[in-house]
C-alpha cells in the first residue's frame, strides 16, 4: 500500500514557466511534509518543507501548497530555470519530523527546456 502518491512521473516545462508537482497521502497521522531535490549522480537534498498547520510556505521561487482536508500537497516552481532540472520527491513523516521514518513519493523528473 503506497502511502504517498506523487504525480506526474515526468514533467517538461519551458524556461520561465511554472512547474507543479502533486502529492497525496493517506495516513492522517503524517505531520511533516518535505520536498527533496535530487540531481543526477547526487543524493537527495531537502528543498522545502511544511507542517499541516499552515496552508502555504514560500521560499524564493519554490512554494508548497497544503490542503489538509483533501490530504494533498503540491510543489510549485515559479519562473522555472534549466538549473531546476532534477528529480523531485515529496515525503511525509510522523512525529514532528523523524526524517528517517519519512515515506517518499515515487519521484518526478523535471526537465526545464531553455
Amino acid at each position: 500500500q503506497q502511502q504517498v502518491k506523487q504525480s506526474p512521473q515526468s514533467l517538461i516545462v519551458q524556461k520561465g514557466g511554472i512547474s507543479i508537482i502533486n502529492c497525496a497521502y493517506e495516513n492522517t497521522a503524517f505531520d511533516y511534509f518535505p520536498w527533496y531535490q535530487q540531481f543526477p549522480g547526487k543524493g537527495p537534498a531537502l528543498l522545502i518543507a511544511i507542517r499541516p498547520d499552515v496552508s502555504e510556505k514560500k521560499e524564493g521561487r519554490f512554494t508548497i501548497s497544503f490542503n489538509k482536508s483533501a490530504k494533498q500537497f503540491s510543489l510549485h516552481i515559479m519562473d522555472s530555470q534549466p538549473g531546476d532540472s532534477a528529480t523531485y520527491f515529496c515525503a511525509a513523516s510522523i512525529g514532528g519530523g523523524n526524517a528517517g521514518k519519512s515515506t517518499f513519493g515515487d519521484g518526478t523528473t523535471l526537465t526545464v527546456k531553455p
Binding site: 547526487k42 543524493g43 537534498a45 520527491f89 519530523g97 528517517g100 517518499f104 515515487d106 519521484g107
Partner: protein, 112 residues
Amino acid sequence: DTAVSQTPKYLVTQMGNDKSIKCEQNLGHDTMYWYKQDSKKFLKIMFSYNNKELIINETVPNRFSPKSPDKAHLNLHINSLELGDSAVYFCASSPDGGTEAFFGQGTRLTVV
C-alpha cells in the same frame, strides 16, 4: 568537507559475491539510514540506526546486514549478491527527531 560520505561510489561485482559499502557522517547526528533507489528512481528506506542500535528494518532480505561500529559509521554488508540487488544505495543521517535527512552521494551497485 563532505557531511555524509560513502565508499565506493561505484561497485561492479558478480552474482554470489559478498560486498560491503561504507558510510561515515561528520555531522554529529545520532541516526543513520540506508536507502535503496532502484532503476525507476523509487527511494525506499532499508534500515535505520539510532546511536548504534537498529531501529527500522524494512522487509529487507537477511543477506543485507548493517553494522554500526559507532554512531558516526553505518556500513552495509551484502552477502550472496543477486542481479536484483543492482541499484543505487544511499546512506543518510539526521539528528534525533530531526526533520531533515542528509544524504550521501550514493553507491551504484551493479551485479553481473
